[in-house]
Symmetry: C2
Subunit: 299 residues, 2 copies
């Protein structure tokens, strides 16, 4: 059945916000991007963008942690986080009030995972793990297309890693001295090198350290979540040479364990995103269709 | 609705097999227990036990890894494993042929998790993580009561842990030099101490090491799976003094992260099994009801 309704999508990242209007099949008609500032400045800008587009509902993927369990006004509230102006922002309710349509909220990484599962590298796979490696490290997981929630949403970027013996920096994570984000995010790379990752040659020894951490995260997620495919995206993963390094280190760590029909070919098991940065927006469009309804989303 | 059908349940562990007949509400009428030997000896013994009981279908929880994705004869096949006689055993098909009823198979830990979610310490919680610490370490996970599969089933006991600085043994895991099972299972405790865990006083320093590992596993599972409750069982967890140690080490490692309404009270977030060892059998009875049907189970 063709769904002619027009939906809204908002991706709220730590540095930028992207708003888009499109259809549930992933067609994007119009988009707007602006730097993240504060809810008081940014929510009216979002409302302005959607005004007159006749959207039926809105899907939102935001940095976390975000409360997806709360009822009523609490649904979609950003919890205590380093971005002080956003901490405790009742994002879901404020967007609903400003834009006047049902609003469904998820973590930006779960939204990206839904995007990959519906339109990208996870299409046709039962359970999809998406790992983003950029300003932060986050994971999203979908089970037959539905995002994993539970307590909140996965925050696997903060799971534990063993520190590399040649490590020269302390964790950049505000909270954890020992998590994947603390040692393998973009800011960790930059702290270690004094320059951004994209300026480093593929044969630099730093990638050995980087993939030491990422392969630990991938291995743990694999053994704990049992995904049918692992899609990796985010700024750091644009370095395509990281993929073979991660695959080989994961294989090495598994020691033959967990090798099954789908995982035996690591080239098709651990794969890059195919959506060129639009995975979260596309996931938000799909969320807006209302298939993952929450009683307080209005969907 | 009251379901008067009688169901069969089989728990296949590395050392013992338990067969039971009961109802979907968890009532067990009759049970039989015998040491695990080989499929050729044990499958006929199981068939004998169920003969004449008029069971409608059979739920099986087995040590893994077990193929839950295969179709036809491959469904429920035990994969390559240390128990040579069981490797490649077409368990699902052989039980179906011997007993003549539909058979649904899962890992023993997923079965135990279903048991806890339906009847035990996970009752009423959305997503339940069950961790068993015994001869091996395994995890099971249910989402709104349904077990997590995907590639196979979770095998989180083999996820990575950082080795304690006072560690005196090498990993007892056949495959991994660095996994939770290798350092925190019953056999690891025994190797470290020369005696079984139940003979060790609660104030022995070994428990500090044991919970160092278990708290890493719990933390990683928490951040990766986002469960609403974590139920721990198995022989080692009968040492009740381990619970406060694990809770405090998990809290310490989280550094305030992931603390939410449900997880803020660790005493009710990380809890002992309440089913006295029957969790897997009860889960098998529930599985037999057919709510998690697989096309090749006949349910």
């Amino acid at each position: 059945m063709n769904d002619d309704r027009v939906f809204g999508a908002i991706e709220i990242g730590g540095t930028k916000i992207i708003c888009a209007v499109g259809k549930e099949d992933g067609t994007i008609f119009e988009r707007m991007r602006f730097p993240t500032s504060s809810p008081d400045a940014d929510i009216p800008a979002m409302a302005d963008f959607f005004s007159g587009h006749g959207i039926s509902s809105l899907g939102v993927g935001t940095f976390g942690p975000v409360d997806l369990r709360g009822q009523g006004e609490d649904y979609g509230t950003i919890l205590e986080c380093p971005r002080e102006k956003w901490s405790h922002c009742r994002l879901g309710q404020r967007l609903k009030d400003s834009i006047g349509v049902p609003v469904i909220v998820d973590s930006d990484v779960n939204a990206a995972c839904i995007g990959e599962a519906c339109f990208g590298a996870g299409k046709g796979k039962e359970n999809v793990l998406y790992i983003t490696v950029g300003t932060g490290i986050g994971i999203g997981f979908t089970i037959s297309g539905r995002p994993l929630h539970g307590l909140m949403h996965p925050e696997g970027g903060h799971s534990k890693v063993l520190v590399h013996e040649k490590e020269t920096i302390a964790s950049v994570c505000r909270l954890h001295p020992d998590c994947a984000e603390g040692f393998a995010s973009g800011p960790a790379l930059e702290k270690r090198l004094g320059t951004r990752g994209e300026n480093i040659r593929p044969d630099d020894p730093v990638w050995e350290i980087e993939t030491y951490y990422l392969s630990q995260l991938v291995r743990n997620c694999m053994q704990i979540l049992s995904p049918n495919v692992i899609v990796m995206g985010g700024g750091v993963m644009e370095q395509a040479h990281l993929f073979p390094m991660i695959r080989s280190k994961v294989l090495e760590q598994l020691h033959g364990h967990y090798i099954h029909a789908e995982s035996s070919d690591m080239d098709s098991y651990i794969v890059p995103s195919r959506l060129g940065g639009d995975q979260a927006l596309l996931g938000c469009l799909r969320m807006a269709r209302g298939v993952f309804g929450h009683p307080s989303s209005g969907l």
